[in-house]
Symmetry: C2
């Protein structure tokens, strides 16, 4: 393949993505942000995310971020001969990532065994709803369902008996994103072992399930249930084990988060609230007492906060050095001086839109080799010729593949 200039800790790594929707493409966005050369294989009609969310002239704004730093190769994987194209590309890659339903890639002629005949040291990452084996393996992988099975949805709710509404969806595709993160970690880990001086040169297989990525974050839920039989319940805007920490109302109808859940912080909050009797109240003398009496405590704090406009309240809390914040929306995030200082919100020229768009920055920030946003989400097949030529396809071969509508 042709050489492009890359920086970042994954410079020199090449990844083939046969992904769609969120999980696998989010995995490769992370890898590409860190410097990997990601070649995304997409259908001739493009990844469906090209139409998702708000768009301008039919072009999704999300796509600009989701596909940034990747090269797009358009291949009709259902066409006879397509698997042969992929197998030639795979020879030049360190890893392949895909998120079809389990078994579908093999049915297209791209089983792990076939892939490793071309490239024995290939690391293969599979991302799916439930994993590559087991009784649920063939179920459709819907994010909201995976999040519910992983145990997260149950806890994203108000305490039992306080609301007639269902538990909310975390407002983003958290299960898919987590699966993408875990896949990225697994792939780079496998490559570290393969490529280091004392490593074994082996291509490993990484099998990430959305449900499992969520379950993995559930803290002490499993041993606590196993040992005490206690089923953890949602706690709304509070933390179940520390108080006070919640959202409190203001006079102008907003919510302010206050974290007063350590002794010095609680003392500072009490001093700020002044006239009230919080500090001397035995119900609130230590954290276990405050947790046991949290409703009364929060009522008192709420009665105090709702005397103030949010801006005034936040000013008071900041001066008293009590951690607090308003709840940021998109406009707040975009304007935040810390995000701007750290280039976590930045403007990036997108030729597809003919202007600069606002992008999130590169996480994790590698201070001395941060990588860069080299380009925004590409047009369908923008790099097909370049990538194929780089992998040794001749111009007549490329023309023939295009003629047969195997590539575009």
């Amino acid at each position: 393949m042709t050489k492009r200039k890359f920086s970042g800790p994954l410079r020199g790594m090449r990844i083939l993505e046969i992904g769609h929707f969120i999980a696998a493409p989010f995995c490769t966005r992370l890898l590409a942000d860190l410097g990997a050369d990601v070649v995304k294989v997409e259908p001739l009609s493009g990844d469906p995310v090209r139409k998702w969310g708000d768009s301008v002239d039919g072009k999704s704004l999300w796509w600009s971020v989701h596909a940034r730093n990747k090269r797009s190769v358009a291949v009709n994987l259902k066409a006879p001969g397509a698997a042969g194209v992929i197998l030639r590309l795979v020879r030049d890659c360190d890893a392949l990532v895909e998120n079809f339903r389990p078994g579908q890639l093999a049915r297209m002629g791209l089983s792990n065994e076939t892939l490793r005949r071309e490239n024995p040291a290939l690391v293969i990452g599979h991302v799916s709803g439930y994993g590559q084996d087991g009784p649920y393996r063939d179920r459709a992988a819907f994010g909201v369902i995976g999040e519910a099975i992983g145990g997260l949805r149950h806890l994203s709710d108000h305490p039992p008996g306080t609301s007639d509404l269902p538990p909310v969806r975390v407002g983003v595709s958290i299960g898919d994103s987590l699966a993408g993160l875990y896949a990225a970690l697994g792939i780079v880990s496998a490559l570290w072992q393969r490529d280091r001086a004392a490593g074994d040169g082996r291509g490993r297989t990484v099998d990430v399930a959305l449900t499992e990525s969520v379950l993995s974050l559930m803290e002490g839920m499993l041993p606590e249930y196993g040992e005490t039989g206690k089923v953890r319940q949602p706690s709304g805007s509070r933390i179940p084990t520390a108080a006070p920490s919640s959202a409190y109302p203001t006079r102008d109808g907003k919510w302010v988060l206050i974290a007063g859940n350590s002794e010095p912080l609680f003392q500072r909050l009490c001093a700020l609230m002044g006239g009230t009797d919080l500090a001397g109240d035995p119900r609130f003398c230590d954290n276990p007492s405050r947790v046991a009496n949290v409703a009364a405590l929060d009522d008192m704090i709420g009665a105090w906060t709702c005397q103030f406009e949010a801006a005034t309240l936040l000013d008071l809390l900041e001066k008293a050095d009590v951690p607090a914040t308003r709840i940021y929306d998109a406009a707040d995030c975009a304007a935040d001086p810390q995000f701007r200082h750290r280039e976590m919100v930045r403007e990036v020229e997108d030729p597809l839109f003919g202007k600069a768009l606002t992008h999130p920055g590169i996480v994790p920030k590698v201070t001395d080799d941060p990588g860069e946003i080299r380009w925004c989400g590409a047009a369908i097949g923008e790099h097909t010729d370049e990538v194929l030529a780089g992998s040794g396809f001749t111009l007549p071969e490329i023309a023939a593949l295009r003629e047969k509508e195997i590539i575009a």
Copy 2:
């Protein structure tokens, strides 16, 4: 240091953790699960998480998971001479991870420069609330506040005007866990570049902020706001761009998630609902129409679902091949046959408790080299002598350090 038998793709990697609470220790749990030898430095009184959540005889059950596969070395970092101990340990490590407030490690005599004098190729991972520089760098890093600043809290709510309650906290410390995941990815990426044959042998610095880890997951939020000015709002239990997908009530007072948000799935759901006029209704003829009329659509589906007990409803939906699930709680997760099949829920002997505890499995699953749960969260300083001796401390040196209460 002494040799222990490890498996998993990070076998042969050694990490020094100077962490506490969640973010850095979660990072190292991930690395240790994948086979890294993690040495956790904790105060003589132990990491506070040893007391968090449900406990048995004063021992936190969460700790069994949170600290598994790590070796515990107890060091009083405030004691004169402690920095010297760390600097000797660092010589044998590939990376160090810490989550003090920015600058605190340097004040203890362990600046990046000092650390790299001992080990020039050391990868250093800093995890903090807001990052190592910028106007907010010195603010306290409370998870709930970071999640709000990252934009997630605003969206974890019912639509504006439908509830008087505040947006909920996702029921786990999602911001800390995300920061830990990003730190793990950054560290392994830096080590891949350092250690591969064509690599540069350099120790990089990874600077992960909790707020930024959350912001990084916000999909198209930033370019959408930047371009259209639209501020994304919460959508409760629905997905804003696809319908029907929500939680629906049942006769026995439960919620069932149904994802009927593709043409074939919606057709199957309509057929199952039978008598209703959904299928032919022009308001629901395609996804944009369904999204525009989602309240009416969900009312009709809810009127149908609440005729059934949850178990009956799920049975009907499964037979009709419409993706659906009840919302799992801890008991459901622990019993799930898929999690059990994939060893994502398993029993592990914990000598500290004198019995087997229920643990989550190892994610990501590396099929051909999955790593193992070698041991559960250790006692404070359980491995102090072993680790120090392995790094060349003599028995009299170790005794003298203990005598001075620098180690335990």
